[in-house]
Symmetry: C2
Subunit: 601 residues, 2 copies
């Protein structure tokens, strides 16, 4: 249980050296905090991770949730975890103090969340979902609903969920059919089924509050007829008075990983007594839900990163201590074997993992910082940060999600046969992280969101802002001999990305939407690699300056390691953009033009 699953040194490097989180406290909204207070929060998160989450990592996988008499049973520790998440202020960490929150910066919360999720991803999901649902209520619900439901969610007594997917409508939200029938009692009567609802029911809380998308009877077809509802498992009928709300669990899914949290199928209104409470205006539900979904998407990227972090440190520990073979300049079998970390191919596998993990952490914190800056900037700058956050969300979700599969796979590879066995944690990391390219919008959906919406919206303004941000970093590399070559490579990649974007967007008109978006997934992959390269350049600049300055002796290895990993990223990962670029511009629309019958034999 003494395993390392994250690096506090690295998180503080990102928070304080790369992103200057302490500067946020100059803004009135965060002025009650200071760096010392932030450190205490980080220490508290580390303690929860070590003492509460990590000891349950394996056990929650081996004893997954199950359905008994209509009630989902989860690991008994979940109740304790939810209580701690409420009492410790974690659920409301970023909420205003006025609503019982801690008013902490998102970037700090991001770091804390990386810590606890790397200890045990499943264990952290309960509180995270509750935070997301609570934020939606806080932003859009009536005061009556807020007063009735928020306090028990903030305290971890009640679970929050997002309930979008239906059996016939997963990626295609416009096809949901769950229906809300108006009444004259101030609520709607709900009927429908939702699937794949994370933490949709469990005995670790006293109630569950679903933020649910449905159609009001007679609403227009498609996404323009979707409304947002608050649908509790037990409805509040008066002070301390709860009544069953006709929500039942029809299934708990048996999953390959992520087994510490239940994914459920829920049935609403089997007895015609399910009351749904409209949040905001009718037919604007999808717009509201996007707030929660965007947060959840970044949360997915964060979860993937955290799992990859845990697998990285497990494999690093193994590679440092496992003797096997000799360096290639030493063939004498009488000499002792060396630790496998001495083999270049093993180092490559470790550098790959580190590059994915710490690069993704950079991008996630960058996104969190944009959110914070939105809060504290003058109004005229809000749009800038909002656009940047919007643009980067598909990358922050997808790059870590897709790469965690490969990163945890390399962790297994570092351990050889042992990595494939349950005695080591990495096989579970590999299983756990495979959900991430799927939930909260598949990779394919993210690609279309990026290319079809984000880069073209507002006349490409978000894309231009991103280029400005990246080029500002490139400018900082001037004169730093070791990192200037990396900056040059990033500039070349950005130029390439601009050309390709122009060409693709142009093709939307000449070739139609289907050909335009056929390889949006590859475009997303390319953009993701470039966004991470930008983050690595940021980190390399800081590391080089520290080494050029007065870095402590104890920090030398850390900074050198940052430079080596940045070097790795630009040598091994960034070149992948070239083959993606080649495919994206070769003008062969084979996937759009082929016949599906060509798959027949």
């Amino acid at each position: 249980m003494a395993g390392k699953f994250f690096s506090m040194r690295n998180l503080k490097f990102l928070l304080y050296e790369v992103f200057d989180t302490a500067a946020l406290t100059k803004a009135p909204y965060y002025e009650q905090h200071n760096q010392k207070a932030f450190d205490l929060v980080l220490d508290a998160a580390a303690k929860i991770g070590q003492k509460k989450f990590y000891p349950l990592f394996e056990e929650m996988d081996r004893k997954p949730p199950y359905l008994e008499n209509g009630q989902v049973k989860v690991h008994p520790a979940v109740r304790d975890i939810m209580k701690e998440s409420g009492d410790g202020g974690w659920i409301g960490a970023t909420f205003p103090e006025a609503w019982g929150g801690e008013q902490l910066p998102h970037i700090l919360h991001c770091a804390c969340h990386l810590i606890t999720s790397s200890a045990n991803y499943s264990a952290g999901v309960y509180a995270e979902l509750t935070t997301g649902a609570a934020r939606l209520i806080h932003s859009f619900a009536s005061d009556d609903l807020k007063n009735k439901y928020l306090p028990n969610m903030m305290s971890g007594k009640w679970q929050g969920t997002m309930a979008l997917t239906e059996p016939q409508a997963g990626s295609s939200l416009s096809d949901i059919t769950t229906t809300a029938y108006p009444t004259d009692q101030g609520y709607y009567r709900l009927k429908g089924t939702k699937v794949f609802i994370s933490a949709g029911d469990h005995d670790g809380v006293d109630n569950v509050v679903h933020m649910l998308l449905a159609r009001i009877e007679g609403a227009p077809p498609g996404v323009k007829g979707i409304s947002l509802f608050l649908v509790p498992k037990l409805r509040v009928e008066g002070p301390g008075k709860l009544a069953s709300n006709d929500v039942s669990v029809s299934q708990v899914f048996h999953k390959m990983g992520y087994r510490g949290a239940p994914i459920t199928e829920l049935s609403f209104g089997d007895k015609d007594d399910c009351r749904a409470f409209l949040v905001g205006e009718p037919n604007r539900g999808l717009m509201y839900m996007f707030q929660m979904m965007n947060g959840a998407r970044i949360g997915v990227g964060l979860g993937a990163t955290a799992i990859a972090s845990a697998a990285y440190y497990a494999s690093l520990e193994y590679c440092r201590t496992r003797p096997q073979g000799r360096r290639l300049n030493q063939k004498d079998p009488n000499t002792p074997q060396v630790a496998i970390i001495e083999h270049p191919d093993v180092r490559r596998m470790l550098l790959f993992q580190r590059a994915v993990v710490e690069g993704s952490e950079g991008l996630l914190m960058q996104c969190a910082l944009y959110e914070d800056l939105q809060h504290i900037s003058p109004k005229e700058q809000h749009a800038k940060y909002e656009l940047l956050l919007d643009l980067l969300t598909p990358m922050a979700k997808t790059y870590p999600s897709e790469m965690a599969i490969l990163s945890t796979s390399q962790a297994i590879q570092c351990l050889g046969g042992y990595g494939y066995c349950e005695d080591f944690p990495v096989e579970q990391h590999f299983r756990d992280c495979r959900i991430h390219p799927i939930h909260e919008g598949t990779t394919g959906i993210q690609g279309m969101d990026l290319l079809g919406r984000k880069v073209v919206m507002k006349d490409g303004q978000a894309f231009k802002l991103f280029l400005e941000e990246a080029r500002a970093t490139i400018a900082q590399a001037q004169g730093l001999t070791s990192v200037a070559p990396l900056a040059q490579k990033l500039e070349a990649a950005l130029t390439h990305l601009e050309q390709i974007t122009r060409q693709l967007v142009g093709s939307a008109v000449t070739k139609g939407a289907e050909v335009f978006l056929a390889d949006a997934t590859l475009y997303l992959e390319m953009f993701g690699i470039i966004a991470i390269a930008w983050q690595w350049l940021r980190q390399a600049i800081v590391a080089q300056k520290a080494l050029d300055g007065n870095a402590k002796a104890a920090d030398q290895n850390f900074y050198q390691g940052k430079l080596v990993t940045a070097d790795y990223f630009f040598a091994y990962e960034l070149p992948k953009t070239q083959y993606l670029a080649q495919r994206l511009t070769d003008g062969n629309p084979l996937t759009a033009k082929m016949e599906s019958s060509h798959f027949n034999d």
Copy 2:
């Protein structure tokens, strides 16, 4: 249970249209067979796959082997499977008739094995290992040992294994310490421990025969002191007389996948009564074992391909039947949803899987054919086929093994959330196939074998032969307008590979072995992609000629599908060689030169 997991049409295309397997029967060694007989063998394999293997696919995963009172217990069906494998002649399929074999071509056996392994990889492993061990005995053991042990192995009554790995010696075979002490009784007394021994013990057979590497007491250190032994669980002490041979099971590993077969830790000679019988000459064990290991390596590539095949067909079926969303030129939400196979991004995921599966099948059959040609060619051509087989073995092992991770992952992605759940088979395929880049020599070991040994051996002769073979295929594409552009791309890739190989091999002298081999894994990846591109060109040529000729109407989709998949491979996969080439030649030896302490923080 009606799932499709392979395509007979495709296997026959490869066997008869691409590789002209029927022509083998002109050779005296295979003259007792004909294509009709081959078809019957294929049908028999399909029947076993459908009726015996596939129904146990899920069950053998859910009820994995366990250790009880020193005996490994496996699924009760294993005994039946082994009996069928013996009675049906599958274990001895490629053995000479003189030894009770079927004297079938390896390429046909390869096809049969693809069928059964795609039905249930774990179930096929028992017989495959027995075949490999039996071949080793047949090739190198004394007649006494052959007579005592072979018949019961050929009939499936006894299990064969290969016992190489030790706790302190996995990838580094030179460090094995299991010791054989000479006696004057015609045997050695063995002491030692072996780990990760597949099917090392189980109750589906009456005995287990280990082909084991050990050091004779006082042998020279390193690989030059390793000998091969036959070590039975029960030794034959006379006709029908068996005695315990002091081999015990200390552990059964609990694995993420591949759970239908036990992987064991074995202890030899705890009571000083384990007899080991020398096979061949002392200290030449590793050379002998390479015969079994090379076969096993190709078997691993085959297993990975078969699993990817099953996942591909499961996802294809799902994509054909799952309605979700609309084509991008159809935004009206009142129109019915389309099957997801109509979406270009989904087709891309399917084409990727198909390209990996059918390309790998091509390469595996190509290797099997070289083995057959070795048997039937005039002696002066033996070296040619042996060299080609030697060279291609690391690719035939590694390309499918590494790509199956991605291919089965895409199968999961096609199914979305359902793919992550146990109700569908693809999550098991994803778990099952992850072992393949590890066992029988990790990917890193294969890379060093390819670049450090195979491409340089005999003055690069094997490499030259490969180029000749590939260029002969390119020549066949002349005049076929649709495939000639693919041939050009392959030629460019070959030229690039030649340059890079020359540059890398040159660096062995100037920069030392460690820098030379630091990225051997990437070189292997590049070579693997090119080898598969060659196979796709072969298949595309045949398909195009069929379409230009008299292809039956029922075959049009199949051949068109071959051309689209070849097109896919050259558009999406072959370009990956460019970024690999860039890294391989950028001259930055960062993984060799960095300090391991740079991983500290």
